[in-house]
Amino acid sequence: MIERASINDNSTNGEIGFDDEVLKVKNLKKYYPVTSNVFMKAKSYVKAVDDVSFSIKKGTTMGLVGESGCGKTTIGKTILRLTDKTDGQVVFQGIDIHELNRKDLRKMRPKIQIIFQDPYSSLSPRMPVGEIIGEAVKDNKLIPKEEFDEYISKVMIDCGLQPYHKSRYPHEFSGGQRQRICIARAIALNPDFIVCDEPVSALDVSVQAQIINLLMELQEKYDLTYLFISHDLSVVEHISDNVGVMYLGNLVEYSDKESIFSEPLHPYTKALFSAIPVSDPDVRNERIILEGNIPSPSNPPSGCKFHTRCRECMDICKTQIPEMLEVKKGHTVACHLYTGKSLKE
């Protein structure tokens, strides 16, 4: 029996509630201890994910953007319980994944899948493609034996592969095809939710488009929900319904795609979006260049973590941590500039 975790529906500040949300991440924290010795206790922690909350509606795609090292991938892995959380909740279809025992977790595994960035290292080099795709299906006994071959062929065709590729090995495929194999491996388990961890950043642009379109196509066909992690904003703009912006382990802005791309609120989002290249050579956008490096997540700045690089830094930013405020409908931001502009007030 899968135990249903009790979810507090009285939304806290900045949390958006949906009735049909597939995934709900609540105050998720993931700290990595910094130790120099096995026998010593951790002196400090790298706060890879620090108090992040969001939720994803069924059949939608949430884009998660941010600089490298801001904790995007860690969120992805913690959602799948590939790493253990430090605190908070990951509720998938009303079940807290981190509270499951091993047996129930294994039953749950096929429902949530992940597609990795590097299609070269994410496929076992000593296994033919058919086995890579079908292995977990067989192991989880999702499909009866008689239908197995046909099923795998169908999934492969859906993902743009040919059935005769089954007996080939990953080293015989190009990067784009390998990514298709990865997608097929995920799709074959008939998941409800897929974490796409920068699935296209290792591919060249033409293949990127193919893969993105494949993902969107599959989303429609299989009624999938995506968490699309990327640092490529144009890709995110293309695929996402909602977008979350992360900075140093925190979610600083969350909104639907249209709202955030037309009117970014957080100074960091503004700076980030100003870096999107524009295809028209005559248009000159103001480029906001952030100064300094991203601070160490093991020793983050006090107050607003962005204040060291923020153009509009105020005194309050250095001491007080800003809360997520819903400034417009469905558009929340964590910045002191918008204090008092919350819709609720």
């Binding site: 096995v38 892995k77 799948l80 590939l82 977790l105 294994r106 039953k107 749950m108 595994r109 096929p110 949530i112 899948q113 992940i114 990795f116 590097d118 290292s121 994410s122 496929l123 076992s124 080099p125 000593r126 296994m127 033919p128 292995e135 977990a136 192991d139 989880n140 169908k154 065709i157 859906d158 743009g160 040919q162 059935p163 005769y164 007996s167 080939r168 090995y169 080293h171 015989e172 990865c182 491996r185 995920a186 388990l189 488009a209 193919q210 379109n213 494949l214 196509e217």
Partner: protein, 596 residues
């Protein structure tokens, strides 16, 4: 099937135009028949293909194959056994007779137990001091010089106390002894003449002065001491003590040529160094005894030396020659060689015996000759190869199992487990391998462990000592594989842990493992050979290439008996080289960066 695929393709194409071009290409691919398709090789097949392209590896493989056939099948074809000793009949110069010039008194006892070496030494002491009596165990003995280098020993027993005062003689006989009256006259005469002994009834009585009184003692001849050695002439003759005593007495007089004993007549024939005694019988003479100053003894007890042989021998020695020829019982002339060592002479004779064919040169019968035990070298090489290879394989198997388990545990579980196991590995790496093996080898020597059981111990020790390298490699591999994305993906897809380990982790460690094990085999064979060479590994009678080589220990053997050690050395060299070639070839073949 193809039609279906095309249909599916089209439906996808409709949905997405951007992928049109790539799908068209795919459709064309799909229309190719199976024959036209490029043959798809699995990674394993690719490895074999790459391996077969490596000439050196193929050479190594052929060498190893040859070694296997030679060692495991060769034994069945060899007509000989591992420990079969070959013999041949040949002549050998064997010691036949030893001879020495007698310069010491030898005693001849009248009865076996009455006179022994204790008395003999007492006699020598008394003689050197010039005394005529000696006492041993409260019994008095009397030495009577009968001639030159000839003494009789008498045992004295007091029988009476005699008082002689102013011509009045009184004899007090001891209890239980009776004597005739007429002896008194003899006593009286002896005392008056101042003699210490007298003869009565062919028996000698001794008068021992004790203050004013005398003690009369009866005598019994127990032995005589003489420099001359008297031996019987033929096997069947029994020469009595009395005869010897009479003979010795007769010999004192150089003039005597015939003497009588027990009613028989004996003839004495003197020559330069010896005197032979012939028994004169009515139908002729018969050699009876030989007296000389030489002690002649045959080495083998069942050989009886004739008088003529002895005479010939003495003559040769005294003339200073070093060899002589004397016919044996079949009338054939046999040459005898004489070796001198101080006063000892050793006579050697060439005899036919079964000889072990030691260090026989290569021939059709023994293709590589025989070794120092007279065993066929080629056969020993076959059996030795079997032991060497089996030890190598079992040790590598053992160390691989221990190494994979330990390294796997360390790598998969990490943290404290990893640290503990790696420290154990460090400790094992700190132990000096060779001295330890030498110590264990000599401990097994001291415990007298059976050579067969010793082989098992050897395998166990080598296996237990050499796992750390493999454990370290496996741990490193698993640590790096564990973080690979395909392992994370496997976890995400909900695969069982056992499947993750056996289908994803292990297959990726196996290539390195095979390479390490193959290279390790050569090393183990070298170790085993070294230990056996030092006499601490496989022991005789079991053959191993190492102990075949150790049979050659001197420069003489090394230069002359090349056929014993060079083939064994070549086999070790070739096998280790073969394993190293194959190991290198496998390493290259498993390297995915090497495309062709």
């Amino acid at each position: 099937m193809d039609n279906e695929n095309k249909k599916d393709d089209k439906s996808i194409n409709k949905n997405d135009k951007s992928e049109e071009t790539s799908y068209q290409a795919n459709s064309e691919d799909n229309s190719l028949s199976n024959v036209q398709r490029v043959k798809v090789l699995s990674p394993g097949m690719l490895v074999i293909k790459r391996f077969l392209r490596n000439r050196l590896a193929i050479i190594g493989f052929i060498i190893i194959l040859f070694m296997f056939i030679f060692s495991f099948i060769g034994g069945f074809f060899s007509p000989y056994d591992e420990t079969q000793v070959f013999k041949h009949i040949g002549t050998m110069s064997k010691e036949y007779v030893s001879l020495s010039l007698n310069e010491q008194y030898r005693y001849t006892s009248s009865d076996e137990n009455i006179y022994n070496s204790n008395m003999h030494s007492k006699f020598i002491l008394a003689k050197n001091k010039g005394e005529t009596n000696f006492i041993l165990d409260d019994i008095k003995y009397h030495i009577s010089e009968e001639g030159k280098d000839f003494y009789s020993i008498f045992c004295l027993e007091p029988i009476a106390k005699i008082t002689y005062f102013r011509n009045i003689l009184s004899v007090n006989l001891h209890e239980g002894i009776e004597m005739p009256e007429e002896i008194n006259n003899y006593i009286k005469t002896a005392i008056e003449q101042g003699e210490t002994y007298f003869k009565y009834n062919s028996k000698i009585y001794v008068l021992d002065k004790d203050g004013r009184n005398y003690i009369l003692e009866s005598t019994q001849n127990v032995a005589f001491e003489s420099l001359l050695i008297m031996e019987k002439a033929t096997k069947d003759i029994e020469v009595t003590y009395e005869f010897k005593y009479f003979l010795r007495k007769a010999l004192m007089d150089d003039e005597v040529s015939i003497f009588e004993y027990n009613g028989e007549r004996y003839e004495l024939i003197r020559d330069e160094y010896s005197i032979s005694v012939n028994h004169i019988k009515p139908d002729g003479k018969e050699p009876y005894a030989l007296a000389s100053e030489f002690s002649i003894k045959s080495i083998s007890q069942d050989v009886f030396l004739s008088i003529e042989f002895k005479k010939e021998l003495i003559k040769t020695i005294m003339s200073g020659a070093s060899s002589f020829v004397y016919p044996d019982e079949h009338g054939e002339d046999i040459e005898y060689n004489i070796l001198r060592n101080n006063n000892m002479y050793t006579v050697k004779k060439l005899t036919n015996t079964h000889l072990i064919s030691i260090h026989e040169q290569p021939s059709l019968k023994h293709w590589l000759g025989t070794d120092q035990h007279g065993m066929d070298v080629l056969t020993r090489l076959m059996y030795g190869g079997k032991i060497s290879l089996v030890i190598g394989f079992i040790v590598v198997f053992l160390e691989t199992i221990i190494g994979v388990v330990m390294g796997g545990i360390a790598g998969y579980f990490g943290k404290l487990t990893d640290m503990v196991i790696m420290r154990i590995v460090d400790v094992f790496n700190c132990i000096p391998f060779m001295p330890l093996l030498i110590i264990i080898g000599s401990v097994m020597d001291a415990l007298d462990i059976d050579p067969k059981i010793r082989i098992y111990y050897l395998m166990l020790i080598l296996g237990v000592m050499s796992w750390p390298g493999i454990a370290r490699m496996v741990r490193g591999q698993i640590l790096s594989l564990r973080e690979q994305e395909f392992m994370i993906a496997a976890e995400a897809t909900g695969l069982r842990i056992s499947r993750r380990i056996f289908k994803h982790l292990i297959p990726n460690v196996i290539p390195q493992l095979i390479v390490l094990a193959t290279l390790g085999l050569g090393g183990i064979i070298i170790y085993e050979s070294t230990l056996s060479f030092l006499g601490l590994g496989v022991k005789f009678p079991y053959a191993s290439w190492g102990n075949i080589i150790s049979g050659v220990s001197t420069a003489y053997e090394m230069t002359n008996f090349w056929f014993v050690w060079i083939p064994a050395g070549m086999l070790i060299l070739l096998t280790v080289l073969g394993f190293n070639f194959v190991g290198d070839g496998l390493r290259d073949a498993f390297d995915p960066k090497m495309k062709r």
